[in-house]
């Protein structure tokens, strides 16, 4: 059984709840509806043999609706098949936790919550993992400046704004020359 067969099987079982599947250079990606995301993952874990969650990450499509996307990288231990499961998440939506399927999902979900502010429903210990409890921002969101924003929690931690001297350096694909492709900075709000 390869990952491509598993994608076909998932399509058979879930039908229209699988919104899209993509194959790119042998990598299989499944786009699931958020409502049936947990069922899809449970099928992968329990029936298709994806015993390990490699990573859970998230993408901020700032300006799009729904805004966020959670990405699950799962694989099997025996024959090294690899599957990517994605689901779109709106700003006010919660994602069902995968900690009941993979214990290793715990810290990954906490990181997503910490950096992007996507809450996971049913997570046993959903608190920040990198920043401290009480830090008011979600730093990896696109509308958060790299330089940071000032905050202060007495006796815990404070933050300031880093001097970027007109930066940060960003890249814009499709520019005619290097100056246009790599401008000094890109202003957000």
């Amino acid at each position: 059984m390869s990952a491509a067969d598993d994608v076909t099987k998932l399509r058979e079982v879930f039908g229209a709840k699988i919104l899209k599947t993509v194959e790119f250079r042998g990598e299989q990606t499944v786009y699931a509806e958020l409502g049936s995301l947990h069922d899809v993952l449970a099928k992968c874990r329990n029936d298709l043999g994806y015993e390990m969650v490699v990573d859970i990450s998230s993408v901020d499509h700032f300006g799009d609706d729904p805004r966020f996307e959670v990405v699950y990288e799962i694989c099997s231990l025996d024959d090294s098949k690899h599957l990517r499961v994605k689901a779109a998440v709106a700003e006010d939506e919660k994602v069902p936790t995968a900690t009941d399927l993979w214990a290793g999902a715990d810290w990954h979900e906490r990181e997503v919550y910490d950096m992007m502010g996507i809450p996971f429903e049913g997570h046993p210990n959903l608190k920040r993992i990198l920043m401290w409890e009480g830090y008011p921002f979600y730093p990896l969101r696109k509308d958060f400046p790299l330089a940071g924003r000032p905050s202060d929690m007495p006796d815990v931690a404070f933050t300031g704004v880093a001097p970027l001297e007109g930066g940060p350096f960003v890249t814009c694909s499709g520019g005619e020359d290097t100056v246009r492709r790599e401008p000094r900075s890109r202003a957000i709000d």
């Binding site: 958060f144 924003r149 006796d155 815990v156 933050t159 880093a162």
Partner: protein, 178 residues
């Protein structure tokens, strides 16, 4: 001048001791002792700490300067070597360790990150430990080689030589009593 003693029975007068008397200022004597027994508090936060360890070990050997006694207790140390990236999460812990160190105390910002935030111009990193702690010596480098750290510590020794042993080195104490 030391003259060889022929009589070993009578120790009430010892020409060896008498001959080794030195006249100096108290300040100079105290500073001489302080600068030659700087006990570092290694605040190893990132890759600079590897160079700090190399500096302490036999190839570079800061015991030549009386600094080999790395104390992991702030109560017993004289110089805080901040070696590495100070994140905001760690910042107040570093400050607290500094506050726990008894005077006289000095601070060395080792490497680009501790001096200025280095390449980490970001929301998570304190842009230089001098925003929290008065720094005596900044050492450039990313990370600095052990020679650079040793030079920084020798610069610190030079600085200690020229300081007033109470007014300059016990400022917190003077603030308390005044």
């Amino acid at each position: 001048m030391v003259s060889p003693s022929t009589n070993t029975l009578h120790t009430s007068y010892d020409s060896k001791i008498e001959g080794n008397l030195i006249f100096t200022r108290v300040d100079a004597a105290i500073n001489w002792m302080r600068k030659n027994s700087l006990w570092p508090m290694p605040m190893g936060l990132a890759c600079c700490a590897i160079e700090l360890m190399a500096t302490a070990s036999s190839r570079f050997d800061i015991s030549r300067f009386g600094m080999e006694v790395m104390r992991f207790s702030p109560r017993q140390s004289d110089v805080l070597i901040v070696s590495g990236t100070v994140t905001y999460k760690m910042a107040l812990a570093v400050k607290r360790i500094w506050d726990q160190m008894p005077e006289p105390k000095w601070c060395v910002a080792m490497g680009a990150c501790a001096s200025s935030g280095g390449m980490f111009r970001s929301y998570a990193v304190l842009q230089g430990i001098d925003k929290l702690i008065p720094v005596d010596v900044y050492i450039s480098g990313c990370p600095p080689r052990p020679e650079a750290l040793i030079e920084g510590l020798m610069k610190l020794q030079k600085k200690i030589e020229g300081e007033h042993s109470t007014m300059d080195q016990k400022k917190e104490f003077i603030d308390q009593i005044s």
